[in-house]
Symmetry: C2
Subunit: 266 residues, 2 copies
């Protein structure tokens, strides 16, 4: 097997196996290039319906890639062998909104009433931007993407409500236009930007002080471009302080067998 | 015939007939709603090849909808009965780059070596923006679109070269993103914007002082959005000062039988 075959085909399955056996527990960025990585939210069945309604009403921040049967740790549409209890490098377990554990598998926490939600992640569209020759600043800087709470309220559903969280990538104007075109093709991983150029209009007072992640430099010849962010559903869940839930640990995503290109709507 | 049938079907042909017979000689804006209107450039055959190469190399400012046979005043793909010598309300006739006449038909100027170029016009994508609920400022103001010479050079071809001319429409950021999506669908009528938000980067010193057309107000919650403009080929032709050429008079466009929606690439 050579390096080229390594980056294709079942590289998602191979990475999951490495993680499942405990051989790897680091961040997933850069693993299985070209494969879709997903955010993870696991909720008890009694919250699952409201959460799914919230996602339906807010598809930009909360694009659902797959939902499990209650108590079933499999997501066969994302990977035939996938076991959500073991296949992420690290998880976060929450009780009443408090972080109680950061285990590398969740078999000991599993319950028959848990529903798994795999949620689209910006990694997929960032790959498409980079393929097109557009620099993604936070990747170039080796830092986390800067994220901001906005004054835009999500559509409430059941117990879930809260502000839209956005991620920001500074781009030259022509690249910003191209980025709108590219990310429009990927509605299941946040789609087109939600804002461009005038951060104060969406309640961002200081672009250099993100609410999550790291600040990145914005050049005088660049516009800040904002996309709906997968941190939104996490923040909304945290606000509800459910009796029990599990999420991925930051940067430790679910690696699937889907190819990013397969998510392109056009 | 009622008002509804009036705005559909062969309204392009009907308006051309009205113009051909001299019953109408005003601006074409608003006539035959939904039909493609086009810019006109008529050049002698000895310049036609260079001009077509220029258009091929610069499709954003110079999208060609149809080219006639030399000496043939018909463009059957744009209208079966179309006669370019009579079907525009007003023309401009140029000799050595000087405006020598503004006739309402050009039968007396016709020559066997003339080649007709019909060039896409922003009317088509503006209709799509308005259909989507986006205000087009200069239309709301009842004025001409503001246009600017930029510091972006077109790709030269033969004798033709010069700066890209752009039109500007101020839009709220979310509308600007939507406008990128909508106009991307219309590559044959200038397509996506070429710039957004930072006019000084493309050599525009004062947004309130357009080089052509009228200034329009830009709100503090708006970004100026710039599209390649059909004035570019006109300016490029003017610079060459050809011995003879004919263009449409400003605002007096060629009305075709094509529907704007038929130009959508997606």
């Amino acid at each position: 097997m050579n390096a080229i075959t390594d980056t294709r085909g079942n590289s998602g399955q191979r990475e999951r196996l490495r993680i499942r056996t405990g051989a790897f527990s680091g961040p997933t960025s850069g693993l299985a290039p070209g494969n879709v990585q997903a955010n993870l939210a696991i909720l008890p069945r009694d919250l699952a319906y409201d959460f799914l309604r919230f996602a339906q009403a807010n598809p930009r921040p909360c694009p659902i890639l797959a939902v499990s049967e209650p108590g079933d740790p499999r997501l066969p549409t994302l990977g035939a062998d996938l076991d959500i209890r073991t296949d992420l490098p690290r998880y976060r377990v929450w009780r009443q909104g408090e972080l109680v554990a950061e285990p590398t598998d969740i078999r000991d926490f599993w319950r028959d009433d848990l529903v798994v939600f795999a949620i689209g992640c910006s990694f997929s569209f960032e790959e498409a931007l980079i393929e097109d020759g557009i620099e993604v600043r936070h990747i170039a800087c080796g830092s986390n993407v800067p994220m901001y709470r906005t004054n835009i309220q999500c559509v409430p559903a059941g117990v879930f409500n809260g502000p839209l969280v956005v991620s920001m990538r500074p781009l030259k104007p022509a690249d910003a236009i191209r980025a709108v075109q590219i990310t429009t093709r990927f509605p299941s991983v946040h789609g087109a930007p939600v804002h461009i150029g005038l951060p104060s209009m969406i309640g961002i007072a200081d672009i250099n002080k993100p609410d999550y992640g790291d600040a990145v430099p914005v050049g005088p010849d660049e516009l800040p471009v904002f996309w709906a962010c997968g941190v939104t559903p996490q923040a909304v869940i945290a606000q509800v302080r459910p009796a029990f839930c599990i999420t991925h640990a930051p940067g430790s995503m679910l690696i699937t067998d889907l190819r990013n290109t397969s998510l392109a709507a056009l």
